[in-house]
C-alpha cells in the first residue's frame, strides 16, 4: 500500500462518517454526498482488486463481500427513497415503505462492517506512515 492511497482512504472514511449522520448534515446534502462517496468507494474497491487473490484471506474476503453487499443495498435503497437527487433527474420512486427500512438496515450493517474493516486495515496504514517517517528521518540525518 502506498501513502497516497492511504490518504485517499482516510479522506473517504472521513467523508463517509459525515454522510452517515444525515441528521447533522440535512438529507439533501446526505444524498449528494452519499452518491459521490459511492463512486469513490467503487474506485477504492477496484483499486483494492489486486488483494482479491492470496491464501489465508478467506475471512477478509467474507468481510469485503459483506461490505460490498451492504453498500449495494444501501445505495440502491437510498436512490429509491431519494427526495432530492432522484427528483432532480425528473423521477420519483414508489415503494417507500419497503426501501426506507431497507436503507436504514443496510446503512447499519455497512457502518458496523466498515468499522471492522478499518480496525483490520489500520495497522497496515500506520505501517506505511511509519516507513515514510523513517525514510524522511534517514534522509535528514544522512
Amino acid at each position: 500500500m502506498r501513502a497516497p492511497r492511504v490518504i485517499f482512504d482516510i479522506v473517504l472514511l472521513a467523508l463517509y462518517l459525515v454522510a452517515a449522520n444525515p441528521a447533522l448534515t440535512g438529507v439533501p446534502f446526505h444524498e449528494y454526498l452519499g452518491a459521490g462517496i459511492f463512486v469513490l468507494m467503487v474506485a477504492h474497491a477496484v483499486a483494492s482488486g489486486e488483494g482479491l487473490g492470496g491464501r489465508g484471506r478467506w475471512a477478509q474476503r467474507v468481510l469485503n463481500g459483506a461490505l460490498l453487499v451492504a453498500l449495494a443495498f444501501c445505495v440502491v435503497s437510498g436512490a429509491m427513497v431519494s427526495g432530492t437527487l432522484l427528483p432532480s433527474l425528473g423521477f420519483y420512486a414508489t415503494g417507500y415503505y419497503f426501501w426506507g427500512p431497507l436503507h436504514a438496515l443496510s446503512a447499519k450493517v455497512l457502518l458496523a462492517a466498515l468499522l471492522v474493516h478499518v480496525v483490520l486495515r489500520a495497522p497496515g496504514a500506520l505501517a506505511v506512515f511509519r516507513h515514510r517517517e523513517a525514510q524522511v528521518e534517514k534522509r535528514v540525518s544522512g
Binding site: G49, L52, F73, T94, G95, W99
Partner: protein
C-alpha cells in the same frame, strides 16, 4: 533492467489489471443483484417520471402543491392521504403524520451515534493509555 525482469514486470501489470477488471465486474454484479432482489421483494415499487399530477409516493396525496420535502403541507381537510397499512384514503388519515414526521426525516441519528460514540471512546482511551505508557517508559529510562 534485463529482458526477463521487464517481462516479469509486464506480466505482473497485466495480472493486476485483470484483477481490477474482475473487481469492477464483481461490484457491478452485486449492484445489479441488489437491484434485482429489491424489485423481486417489492414488485410494486418502481421508477416513474415526476409530473405535476404524480401522487406523493409516501402518502398518495395528489395535492400538487407539495412535491418538495421542505414544503410539506398542513392537513387541509381537502387533500386525501393513503394509509400506508390499510391502503384506504381519507382527508383525516394518519398519512399526514407520516408525511410531516417521518418522510425524508433522518431517523437513525441516535443509532449511528450509539455505534460511533463507543468506538470513538475506545479509540480515545487507547490513544491516551498508549501515550501515557510511552511517557512512563521515557521517564524510567
Amino acid at each position: 533492467m534485463n529482458l526477463s525482469s521487464k517481462e516479469a514486470k509486464r506480466s505482473r501489470g497485466q495480472r493486476s489489471a485483470r484483477k481490477r477488471l474482475l473487481a469492477a465486474a464483481v461490484v457491478g454484479a452485486v449492484l445489479v443483484g441488489a437491484l434485482g432482489v429489491g424489485f423481486a421483494l417489492a414488485p410494486d415499487s418502481g421508477l416513474h417520471p415526476l409530473t405535476a399530477d404524480a401522487a406523493c409516493p409516501v402518502a398518495g396525496c395528489t395535492n400538487g402543491a407539495c412535491h418538495g420535502y421542505d414544503a410539506v403541507p398542513e392537513p387541509d381537510g381537502r387533500s386525501e392521504m393513503r394509509c400506508p397499512e390499510a391502503g384506504c384514503t381519507s382527508v383525516e388519515c394518519h398519512g399526514w403524520e407520516t408525511l410531516a414526521g417521518r418522510y425524508h426525516q433522518a431517523s437513525d441519528m441516535s443509532l449511528n451515534l450509539w455505534i460511533l460514540m463507543p468506538v470513538v471512546l475506545v479509540l480515545g482511551l487507547w490513544v491516551v493509555s498508549r501515550r501515557l505508557s510511552k511517557g512512563e517508559r521515557h521517564a524510567g529510562a
